[in-house]
Amino acid sequence: MKPGAFEYVAPESLEAALAVLTDRGEDASILSGGQSLLPLLNMRLARPEVLLDINRLGELATWEVTGDEVRVGALVRAARLERDAEVLATLPVLPEAISHIGHPQIRNRTTVGGNVAHADPSSELPGVLAALDGSVELRSQSGTRTLSWDEFFVSVFTTAREPEELVIGVRFPLLRGWDVRFTEMARRHGDFPIVALTVAVQEDGGVLTGLRAAATGVADRPVRLTEVEQAATGRSLDDAVIADLAGLARDAVDPQPDGAGSAEYRKHLVGTLLSRVLAPELGRSAA
């Protein structure tokens, strides 16, 4: 269980990294935090010809909180965001979601860009990104483009990133006046969730003026529960409405079964998590 042979390159600048991708992007795996890639290399399930280590690109290791978003450089370690006071104050859902990624020793190393670019269909951050209508910045030698989450996530472990492109940043918009909540159900704390749900709520005098809900673990990529979002607007959150929305959420997804549970279980969980996140007093958090 040792990695096979690969060519290794660890450029000191973004330009140099992009040059490598222009040359050999088709044959390259990008080593960011490595917390998903290294296991695959060790098991020889990933056999890249080129391993492009971007850990020396300090320019990608910063984040900033602006008036309308938290922009996170691709190389920012999850644990640093998790503990950042400003992020905690402006977008608390982000540290909350991060706290469910693996364990502290993993989060010390894993990066926000790597987590998003890996596109695991049950992972936490892609769901947060979807709920916030966030986006992903990609750069190649021919320029920069920003893809909405919906354009970026294609399928299981598959994104719209072109081989010559590098994910350089992830943008989490701030929803001013919204309450953004995260919950998930995992078999053990730190496991990939069976279902994870990010929900943004805007209320005015007990009436929902806006709702956004994104789930992971129920499809080959994060999904927004648009039927639920539309049905929620203008209604007040009583038990009947919550039950109605939970039902809509269950109908809105078409998950696949796996070792953790049946498709029916996952469908049901989406509704359960939604009702709990909308009315936490109805039940303890599942996770």
Binding site: M1, K2, P3, G4, A5, P39, M43, R44, M185, R187, R188, H189, G190, D191, F192, I194, D239, I242, A243, A246, G259, A260, G261, S262, E264, Y265, H268, L269, G271, T272, S275, R276, L282, G283, R284, A286
Partner: protein, 783 residues
Amino acid sequence: MTVAPERPASLVGARVRRVNDPRLLRGEGRYVDDVHVAGMVHATIVRSPIAHGVLRTFDASACGALLALGPDEIAAATRPLQCVWLAEGQRQTEVLLGDRRVRYVGQPVGVVVALSRAAAEDAAELIELDYDELPTVADQEQALRDGAPLLQPEWGTNVAADFRVGDDAETVEAAMARAARVVERRLVIPRIVPSPMETRGVVASWDANLRELTVWSSTQTPHHVRDHLATSLRLSADQVRVIAPDLGGGFGSKEHLYPDEVMVSLASMRLGRPVKWIEDRVEHFTATMHARDAVHYARLGMDEDGRFVAIASDVIGNLGAHPSNVGTGPFRISGSMLPGPYRFSSAGVRVRGVLTNTTPTGAYRGFGMQEAAWVRERLVDEAARELGVDPVELRLMNMVREDELPHTTPTLQDYDSGDYVEGLSMLRDMVSKREVPSDANPRIRRGVGYGSQVEFTGLGPSPVQKIVGFHLGGFETGVVRVDPDGSVVVSSGVMGMGQGIETTLAQIAADKLGVPLEKVRVTLGDTKVAPYSASGSIASRSMTVGGGAVTRASIALSDKMRRIAAHQMEADAGDVELVDGVFRVKGVPSTGVAFGDVAASTWLGWDLPPGEEAGLEVKDMHEPANISYSYSSHAAAVAVDLDTGKVHIEGYWVTHDSGTVINPMIVDGQVMGGVAQGIGIALYEKMTYGEAAQPTTTSFLDYLVPLSGDVPDLVIGHTEHPAPHIPGGMKGAGEGGTIPAPATVANAVAAAVPEIAGKVLETPLSPGRMWELLHEAGLHDRL
């Protein structure tokens, strides 16, 4: 009442820190992968990627390795490995090495050696392999059906052994016919992967000059490994030296010699260089023996008042691709121990061991007894539910009472000593003191469940081993020596693997000899040094059988020193006592000869009483007169989330009796660790196979073991009924934590959600599975 007594000033029963810990804590432990020998090269094992077929081509000509041995070379150079536990009529009793017929994913077919492990893996990828695939079967019940793929076609069946334990079928049926009520269920115990944190591994070093093979092996049974390795490699036993260094856990999975380890040793002999092989974690999931995997069609019969009459089961056990070292042993023990702590007029089990295209199943903590407890304790709770009585009362009413011991079960177990009623009553008192969570959420259900068991420990009298077909001697040897400087060395054939036996043997020797603990060193695990042990550290026997030997040897040595000291003081040995390192005549404080001076003079052969031999070394071979029967009762309090299916263990209580306790801290540690593994079985662990018998849980991401947050702090109560037939009175403590835990958790789940109680028949009770049960019962979230 026999709550563990305080024994002030005695090292037996003292909570002393473990002697080995400082070096382990400092990072100075030496596990097999830490062994480095000059000139050492590295091996990887080539394993079958398919579950059933014939290896047509093994062409290593282009792989570039230092050495690559394929199936034919391995088969020609080795003798098959002999199974040691043979059921009557068992159709297969040995395992061929280098068999071209592959029967499970992970079966070793070759070994490749290179300068590094990575290079060996590179070379292995270049070996050309071609298989003709055959149809597969992974499930034992499917393997019994007509037309199922046959692993040994010449048999015409996949059944490798079919036998009974306890009463014959006629007797059992007659008893069941007399029962007013029979509870009958199909109960399943899933396949478990032992998963010690250290995988297996060996360093093999052939000395062509001395014609000696030295093997460092992560094993619980160094002598067993030596004997089988010598036989397989056509060497004499004396040509093979096995050294077991620090072990990173075993739990039964390292209790015999595996084919891999022969192949690596063979590679060293061919190359004339030391060869290291360390199993990787993904390999461990298919290459190391699995355990459990049994289906029980079980019945519990009782009279109108709920008095148990008979218990029976039809056990269909999954042996995997071939009978392992212990073969049907676990399934047999499930039968032998099925009666548990209760009175039955009849008990009988039919066992069928069935071959399938899966990794062979072998020993793992609880060895058949966890399965028995799962079956019996679930049946008891189901009976209580049907009768509408309290499950604890039902247990207490049916337990063998203290005044009925010794007691022989219908399965021929001679229970020795104890008070099962006391243990369960004490447990119920402990549980009653708990704080019940006040959370009134109607979607969370809460319940408390119980489980009780009697455990077969201290394997075992050698003649009994013969009767049950277990080709292992059950004795154990202790050698205790006082060196000329007054220091003490203890040696035994048992093995330390984290259970702290080095410390507890030292406690016994220090206590009996009257020296401080620091004076005693315990050396284990090297066949050149340690006395012969056929069984090693398995079956919760190290302290019982090995400790018994050390107890007797220490007492004999102490007596000898007392005689010599008495002679030197011109006193009677009966009047001599050892106080603070000095032998004195009682009541005459002015007399005295130091312990160290007695040691020194005895090794000189000076000043000895007539007829006394020089030297201070005693070897005691302890053949126990009987199995020692430990017992425990467990209780769990759980919360079940009706909407997510998640089971949360909110409290856990244990009463445990393993006879004389040498070190309560260590015994508690054994209980805690055992319960954690039981919780794993209850809620998380299951090895699964998919299409074409491909394993689907081959990493710690799919095969989940409990983490810290999944295991609550236990409350443990001890009682202490010494084993009457064991010097020192000890019984085994290693498995009593694991055995009843899955049934206890399940009984709590059933108590919390009675609507599904009748369906709680299989572990793990994972959220996904629980939700299915809750859903079928109409209990799911209907907001």
